[in-house]
Amino acid sequence: MNRTLIIAEPSEIIRKGLIHIAESLGFFSSVKEVACSSMLHDSLKKYKPQMVLLNPTFVNPDGLLELKEISGNDLLVAGVIYSLYDDEIVSMFDEVIMVGDTRQKISKKLGDLLDKTPEKNRKKTPETLSARELDVLKLLVKGLSNKEISDKLFISTHTVISHRKNITQKLNIKSVAGLTVYAILNELISMEDVQ
């Protein structure tokens, strides 16, 4: 996994300070700096960072979405705030670092933010079954055919098949007999249902 952090901040004092702190945290495999807003897009494309610490003056509110589009939607963006800012601007960041924050506070904020990443990834390829997939699984292990399942759930057989594919992919179990063991283990059905 790419653990690059980009610090996009015009003030050299603050930028160097943040780099110093970020490198000491051990969260990131590399820390890059961007001193000028015109370089931001190129750096995102080049380094594909996991997180950006961003001075709000570098982008307008629409620009933030654009940044996420450039480097994939999983990009985490924390704002670097010197003083009072409009709530609207603050709320567009995933997190906000104040220049007055202690190292501990920055560490906690960035750590918590990084912990959110796996959750986002999980949404993309969850290993748990969706409610609909569970419905299909239950009927499947009771011995119903694709056609019977499609009639019962009012979905097309094509959809049933696609649910079955997802189930197999998520559980790494292909056969109905194997899925039956899974269903009993997880108390989705009882022994009587399969006998």
């Binding site: 790494n172 292909k174 039956t180 063991v181 899974y182 022994m191």
Partner: protein, 236 residues
């Protein structure tokens, strides 16, 4: 695991040391352990094994990228069939009974309603494997043997053997596939159990069996089928 290519001068012990998958091959050629520092060629000559054939089998078995095309025309089909039958014998007489014992032990030790279903699943699977092997032993292999026999005797007078290796090719399904299901269930989904390492032993056996079956199937697909197809061309 190595992708080494074996030569006649290689010490047999070195092969087994480097890749333990070679172990299961030895009994299929009637080679017992304890062969000292003898080379592949020496061990084969001691036991009247065709060295080229032995090396071909080892190389195809251990190296999935090994394409034996040019060496195929020298393969004696009876030797090949005997090797394949010996593999089946090993599965039926050694591997499967041992797996069955382990699974039974697991089921006895683990008190969970799902074990009953696991047993059913496993037995169903064993039935399928046995059917698969029996089909090859009783239909596909005898056909290949009869075909080569006929060609040796009188290629112009082929009686009506009502079979075609293409049928085997089509029917040659992956019997190792369900082992993945079994592995997933034991690794991920059965709750932790105090089964005195039995689950681990089962997994080790399953992984080895799966590997063996995949390599075995590759010999059938890359060696047996092309050879029989060539024989079929001769008579058509």
């Amino acid at each position: 695991m190595t992708d080494m290519i074996i030569f006649g001068k290689t010490k047999l012990a070195d092969i087994v040391m480097q890749d333990r998958r070679a172990l299961v091959l030895l009994p299929r050629f009637g080679i017992e352990l304890g062969f000292g520092d003898r080379t592949v060629k020496q061990v084969c000559e001691d036991r009247n094994i065709n060295t080229d054939f032995f090396m071909l089998m080892v190389n195809v078995f251990l190296n999935k990228n090994f394409f034996p095309d040019r060496k195929l025309k020298n393969v004696d089909i009876d030797m090949l069939l005997r090797y394949l039958e010996n593999s089946h014998k090993y599965y039926l007489e050694e591997k499967i009974p041992y797996l069955e014992t382990l699974i039974e032990e697991f089921i006895n030790k683990v008190d969970h309603p799902a074990t009953q279903q696991l047993e059913k699943f496993f037995h169903q699977y064993i039935v399928e494997v046995k059917e698969h092997l029996a089909y090859e032993d009783e239909t596909a292999f005898p056909y290949a043997a009869a075909l080569s026999e006929q060609i040796k005797k009188d290629p112009s007078n082929i009686s009506d053997i009502d079979y075609h290796i293409g049928v085997f090719e089509e029917r040659h399904d992956n019997i190792e596939e369900k082992l993945t299901d079994l592995k997933s269930l034991l690794i991920k989904y059965f709750p932790p159990s105090n089964d005195r390492y039995i689950r681990m032993r089962i997994l080790n056996e399953l992984i080895e069996f799966e590997d063996d079956l995949i390599n075995h199937a590759r010999i059938e697909d890359k060696v047996l089928i092309p050879i029989v197809e060539q024989l079929e061309k001769k008579i058509s």
